[in-house]
């Protein structure tokens, strides 16, 4: 097995300091404003791998990120090596209405995704490692008066996978690896509630049938979970076909996450005032807000416990790397996400009458990753990459919650061997999502969403920046 290259020495304390800084509370640790891969997948676990478009399963970068990119590729390393880094995602999103042709922008809120890897070659054939990374996450925030706020105006999902890994070289050319994944995650969902769609207490009609306009936000609902825990596994195999060709394959199992948390309800002012001679039988000048305020005091919309669950999908990645010359290597990965497991999000409340199901009906999705590495100088390397991924969400599920679609990515990065023990990688990643039609309105109660509800266009793109510091000691 090849000896990893840019392993560097240095005080372990430096690594710990970087980890501490990177994981400082209050940061968006593991969310991306718009997730980078399909659905809400993330693939920014190494700046070096980012530069190569993530096409590294056949030979992961020499920064310990093999724990994620191929657990089977750790074997053969010697000594200690650790890397720490972050990716920053600054995304832009906009929804333009068919009817008004005016656009609403997502709130800008750059996110930081940290990663940390350490591994140790305990013998010629065995290596042990640990990775802390985030393979899933998203954060989307829109103005609260946005027409799509009835689906979501501020939502996020954070995940943190902790993965102890063992890798063993079973022959001169084949090594395997496996890791146990302890997954931690929390979720926050916020949306407004349309009074026109709610039933008038004691009647069989909705407020909308009594004239309350569609899109009258009278409440905001927030569900903020505690950290939930789930378990999974990660497996990989690497094969060296000859001196120039490497092959790799990895499989990340699905992880079921269950979240317990608190649901909060806040009344919003509607500004509506009922005139006289009304069918409600209330005096002229009665504010609509006064008619519904009891629901927040001792009615169904009191703060209460809430829970939900999500399955993080399985991933399978297979790829090859071909070394054309000592300076130049090309790689290609095919990446499959089992997104069809993300079919719906069930929201459960202490009051079952408030239970809701958010239909998602995601579909399995693919990505093709192409990368090229060119050694510019003894201490410098250039990486370029391209990714195309298909959408995981079907057209009827294109909403403000996760407005994703087919994407093209372009990456470029530099690696610098600063000293014999220190290496630094920096990468720029440009994400361009195909403009995609979607909706801002929820499906009617009891009905599955359809593309007939799509009422405008989502435009999303992002700039990503990755930085990883690798230390050998």
């Amino acid at each position: 097995m090849r000896r990893p290259a840019w392993l560097l020495g240095g005080p372990p304390g430096a690594t710990l300091l970087l980890v501490a800084v990177t994981l400082v509370p209050g940061w968006h640790l593991v969310t991306a404003q718009a997730a980078e891969a399909q659905g809400f997948g993330l693939y920014q676990q190494s700046a070096c791998a980012m530069a190569l478009g993530g096409a590294v399963v056949a030979r992961p970068c020499d920064d310990g990120s093999a724990v994620f990119f191929n657990p089977g590729a750790l074997a053969g390393s010697e000594g200690w090596k650790a890397s720490v880094g972050t990716a920053v995602i600054a995304s832009d999103g906009r929804f333009t209405s068919d009817r008004t042709r005016t656009g609403t922008d997502m709130e800008p809120d750059p996110s930081v995704i940290p990663h940390f890897f350490v591994h140790h070659g305990t013998s010629d054939r065995l290596a042990l490692g640990l990775g802390v990374y985030s393979p899933y996450g998203f954060s989307s925030e829109w103005p609260q008066d946005f027409e799509g706020a009835f689906i979501s105006f501020r939502s996020s999902l954070e995940s943190l996978y902790v993965q102890p890994t063992a890798s063993y070289q079973v022959s001169d050319r084949i090594s395997v690896g496996a890791g146990v994944v302890a997954a931690f995650s929390r979720v926050e969902l916020n949306r407004t509630v349309d009074l026109s769609q709610e039933s008038v207490p004691g009647t069989g009609v909705t407020w909308g049938q009594l004239g309350i306009p569609r899109g009258t936000a009278f409440a905001s609902v927030g569900l903020e979970s505690d950290w939930g825990t789930g378990w999974g596994g990660h497996f990989g195999i690497q094969a060296q076909v000859n001196d120039r060709i490497d092959l790799g394959l990895r499989f990340l199992t699905p992880v079921n996450m269950n979240y317990d948390g608190a649901a909060t309800f806040r009344q919003l002012e509607t500004g509506l005032v009922i005139p006289g001679q009304n069918p409600l039988g209330v005096p002229a000048g009665t504010p609509v807000d006064a008619l519904v305020e009891d629901a927040f005091d001792d009615g169904p919309l009191v703060d209460q416990e809430g829970r939900t669950g999500i399955t993080f999908p399985a991933q399978v990645v297979g790829g090859a790397r071909y070394e054309l010359s000592p300076e130049l290597a090309l790689s290609l990965d095919l990446h499959w996400f089992n997104w069809s497991t993300f079919d719906q999000v069930e929201l459960r409340f202490a009051d079952p009458a408030l239970d809701d199901v958010l239909e998602q009906n995601y579909e399995d999705a693919w990505a093709i990753r192409v990368g090229g590495r060119y050694r510019l100088a003894p201490d410098w390397a250039l990486g370029l990459g391209y990714i195309h991924n298909t959408a995981a969400s079907p057209p009827e599920s294109m909403t403000p919650l996760v407005p994703e679609g087919d994407r093209n990515h372009f990456t470029a990065g530099l690696g610098w061997q600063a000293t014999s023990r220190v290496a630094v990688h920096g990468t720029y990643h440009r994400l361009v999502q195909n403009d995609r039609r979607g909706r801002t309105q929820p499906a009617p109660d009891g009905q599955a969403p359809t593309t007939d509800l799509n009422n405008g266009l989502y435009e999303v793109d992002a700039h990503l920046f990755g930085l990883t510091l690798t230390l050998e000691f």
Binding site: P4, A5, W6, C48, A51, L52, V56, P60, C61, D62, D98, R99, T100, R101, T102, T206, W207, G208, Q209, L210, G211, I212, P213, R214, G215, T270, L272, V273, I274, P275, G276, Q277, N278, P279, A284, G285, V288, P326, E327, L328, V370, G372, R373, R375, L376, A377, G383, Y386, H388, D406, N408, G413, G415, V432, N434, R436, R437, N455, G456, L457
Partner: protein, 413 residues
């Protein structure tokens, strides 16, 4: 990036080839992988009509035959005009049989679905995202601006259609580019129908003008780029009001039962009466007087002294007021570059053609007021909405240079 190697002398030709291959590959991949979708273009006749909102009263709302439901709503000129514009136009659809259900037979009081005058089958579902027809039956000029003023005249439909907003607020919510405003009829209609004209039940022209300006300022502030103002119909032309002389003629021909006496004051002027210069509301002359006569109670219609009969002076007050309203409407239209339609020449012409009967045809209750007006004698029929639509098409095309096409109108007999 990974793999430390023995370094060779740099081959920049190789680097250039590497970059060129990568760039070409990326270009091909990105071009083949880019498949943007787009907005669904609103196929309107002109961009001016991207979003249309209609303000007004019962006529615009689609009220006919003393009732309204989703069928009559769809017969409104506003809906027809939107159809010619090619723009999406949602109404506050009222379930069948209506709210109240329209009359089927005004003489028996039978209504659609055997409903009652107080039947209200509330709004249909699903509630549309935006209501484009924000007109409310019964609304006068003040009601577009306020539902809570002491002089406002809200009714159950005000809430069912607007849901706690004013018409102006609802129009702003529709983010309209084009608006039509037909208001003012109810500022003079009540005295016409009751036959009692006072200073209190007729909106002064100055007040109407001020409110109109506020409405139009509000619409333009909300983004409306153009529109059409429709003049107030001369209420003395509606078949709900019959000349006193018409009652005199029917009486002369023995058309009324004996207990119903028509005083000689209702005779033509050349016979010493004032019948040609007075108007008798249907509700008074037929429902009250004839109804009592049919019950055997002697009654007399006196065109000179009866307070419920519109005198020549009262008629003149109404006509002068409507003319004042229409001057204000036309002036505002000219000042703002909006189109303007005076509907009265149309009604005069139809009347001259004999299509608006001077006296209701009591022998044919389903055609009581002829083809131009519905069964309440006040509100235009579906046919007339089509005629109005085509008149609007003409004035809008003339003002804005657009190419709206007329709607089909059944042959008038």
């Amino acid at each position: 990036m990974s793999g430390k190697r023995t370094c060779r002398p740099r081959s920049y030709e190789a680097l250039v080839r590497f970059l060129a291959v990568i760039a070409a590959g990326l270009l091909v991949l990105s071009l083949t992988a880019c498949d943007d979708e787009g907005l669904v273009a609103v196929q309107t006749q002109d961009d001016l009509f991207t979003s249309y909102v209609a303000l007004g009263n019962s006529i615009t709302a689609g009220f006919q035959s003393d009732g309204i439901n989703l069928t009559t709503q769809d017969e409104s000129y506003a809906v027809l005009l939107a159809g010619q514009m090619g723009t999406r136009f949602d109404t506050p659809a009222l379930n069948m049989p209506g709210c109240p259900p329209p009359l089927v037979n005004p003489l028996t009081g039978q209504r659609v679905g055997d409903g009652e005058p107080n039947t209200c089958a509330i709004r249909a579902t699903p509630v549309p995202p935006v209501v484009n027809n924000v007109a409310v039956p019964g609304a006068a000029s003040l009601d577009i601006l306020s539902n809570l003023d002491e002089e406002s005249r809200p009714n159950p439909l005000t809430t069912l259609i607007l849901g706690g907003r004013t018409q102006l607020q609802a129009a702003a919510d529709a983010e309209a580019t084009f608006a039509s405003v037909w208001i003012g009829n109810n500022d003079v209609l009540e005295p016409a129908i009751t036959g009692v004209v006072t200073e209190q039940n007729v909106t002064p022209v100055a007040a109407f003008e001020t409110r109109l300006q506020d409405v139009l300022d509000g619409l333009e502030a909300a983004g409306v780029q153009g529109g059409v103002l429709i003049g107030v119909a001369d209420v003395t032309l509606i078949p709900h009001l019959s000349p006193g002389v018409a009652y005199w003629l029917v009486d002369q021909e023995g058309g009324f039962p004996d207990p119903f006496e028509v005083h000689e004051s209702c005779a033509p002027a050349d016979l010493g009466g004032v019948g040609e210069a007075t108007l008798v509301p249907f509700g008074y002359g037929i429902f009250e007087l004839l109804g009592r006569a049919l019950a055997g109670v002697p009654v007399t219609l006196n065109c000179a002294q009866d307070q419920r009969v519109l005198s020549g002076q009262e008629i003149q007050t109404l006509v002068t007021t409507v003319a004042g309203y229409n001057q204000a409407l036309e002036a505002q239209a000219q000042a703002r570059g909006w189109a303007y339609l005076d509907p009265n020449p149309i009604f005069v012409q139809l009347s001259q053609q004999g299509l608006i009967p001077p006296f209701p045809n009591l022998a044919a209750p389903t055609e009581l007021f002829g083809p131009i007006f519905s069964l309440d004698g006040v509100h235009p029929s579906a046919l007339t909405h089509r005629l109005i639509t085509n008149e609007l098409v003409d004035v809008i095309n003339q003002e804005y240079g657009t190419g709206l096409q007329p709607v089909e109108v059944p042959q008038l007999n």
